[in-house]
Subunit: 242 residues, 3 copies
């Protein structure tokens, strides 16, 4: 049996993993789903940096004294798990990147996004009182949760909250991460077009940066944690096992 | 419940959709499957242009006074639905491109085909009495309907008819189409090699031109309307819903 | 009913096909699974060349007087079936390349491998008493048999044996192969990362060299002959039929 630490992506908080966590627990695994600082509804978001996001999760791990766990990062969460690995490599049994950013050393998340996303967020943030960006519903429905019916797309959207924008813009030093030899997997959802397939796509663009890695794939969108939590749980196990 | 207008591709006519239409109707949807001028067996094919193909379908829509429909284009039919959208954008609820051509403004279909196809058709048309091209059975069997057993491949081939060649060669002005904001989806059959995967492939080459779009994928060849009509109907709904 | 000749890849011998052969036979097909010279456990491996590998299989075919068969090559076996086709084109009904090398004329297998594999093998062979290379278990587990649980990954690894290295390095004249018109199929396992997806991937890089070919795909890794022999048998039939 494994211990999973599941790190959410942008606009999400830890509770988005609840249905996945249930399936993993029912199969006997331990699951932890921390929420990064500045994420979720009703919390202060101004001034949140990438370093503070990472630190809030590292603090959670240390306080709970978690060890020998499978560390899963989804989407933006990929940038967090890379920094976590730099701080506590000896605690991590394996890393699983689920349609996650694996930034080149020195890049920001925005550096790895297609121009139309950057332009959109640069515009949207100007109207924000707390330097956050929200994802428009039309993009959510067609590019993020394209395998949901309209009811589910709406219900899942209602759980999202505005995302602090600075962590998208900050350039990350990942030299230490790229020197680590923690085993790693990439889980690719085959209809995920949150990043457009091809030149800007998740796989193999991001996955190939992991060097030697295990590939796991499944059908579905960027948001199978809503549309197919049971299938996602199964694939996290296939990605996370030794 | 949705209204579907299904636009066939080259060598096909509207009756090729019949099994798909049955499945859609059995689920409560309305379905229309017009045949373009110059398509089908036993009709005059000489002198058929792209504009006449489009006009014959526009005329059908207007006479039936169809409105608020999901407009599906398959293969060559993608070039027709783009022009239709220019003429009647307000009638279209959503466009679904199923392994369909989405031409760059100013290109012909031939401009977007690999050289071996163009060369083949340029040769074949010279032997034709009415400036049409037929698809050789060997290409049909291995590159178009590669998921059929030999009996089905043959039976389906027998329903095809020669294709007017001018519409492949005519360059299309699509500036208006590219200015429209009709919601759109791309349905990609994952073993479709009617266009060879990679540099000349359907997806993401064609799909990425749609800007913001919904991606839907399914297993199968370019001709799942013959090999898996029920599965295709399901995916047309996933692509066509709001 | 078809006759199959199944040609194994590197580190394998003919017995690796046994579970697949059983499924094919239970469906009424004839199956032959020869082992190349220098392959398998407990045999002399020093001095084995690509030409000797091919000759050992050609000899097998001639002695058994096999004819009108579907010739399947897996991985390195792709290079063998291309040379076999040059020597006995009239005996082959169809070729099926299953995640197999289709070398450019004049290339060696190493020429078509990503640098990190070449570097690894160049290092490993120096420690070998008989100029062979073994595949490290960590690469086997994550990049070759990534769809197996740890027990199956280990059990399958124990059936492997060291691979003569010269056949990876020898440049092959394939002009005659590329002039042949034997019908051909490419079977691609969709999670096969034995060659990393993208620039160095199997499909469409290798498959596109076949000219007109039938594409068949299935889920799974480079080693579905261990993880899903029944599914592989089904897909070999879809690839092998007329």
């Amino acid at each position: 049996m494994l211990t999973f630490v599941l790190i959410h992506g942008s606009w999400h908080d830890g509770s988005a993993w609840n249905p996945v966590a249930l399936h993993l627990q029912s199969l006997g695994h331990q699951v932890f789903t921390p929420t990064m600082v500045g994420h979720g509804k009703g919390v202060e978001k101004a001034g949140v940096t990438h370093a503070r996001c990472t630190a809030s999760i590292v603090d959670y791990i240390v306080k709970k004294d978690l060890d020998n766990f499978v560390l899963v990062g989804h989407s933006f969460g990929g940038t967090i798990v890379c920094k976590m690995a730099e701080f506590m490599p000896e605690r991590i049994r394996r890393m699983v990147f689920w349609n996650a950013f694996v930034l080149k050393d020195g890049n920001s998340l925005n550096d790895e996004c297609p121009p139309h996303y950057r332009d959109l967020f640069d515009r949207v943030v100007l109207d924000s009182p707390d330097y956050t960006v929200m994802l428009p519903f039309s993009i959510w429905k067609d590019a993020f949760i394209n395998d949901a019916d309209p009811q589910l797309a709406k219900a899942a959207y209602d759980t999202l909250s505005a995302e602090p924008y600075m962590p998208f813009q900050e350039k990350l030093d990942l030299k230490r991460f790229y020197s680590l030899e923690i085993p790693r997997s990439y889980l690719n959802c085959m209809q995920d077009i949150a990043l457009p397939p091809g030149e800007w796509g998740w796989h193999p663009r991001m996955s190939s940066r992991l060097g030697s890695f295990r590939l796991v794939e499944m059908p579905g969108s960027h948001e199978v944690l809503f549309t197919n939590p049971r299938g996602l749980a199964q694939k996290l196990i296939e990605g996370g096992r030794d």
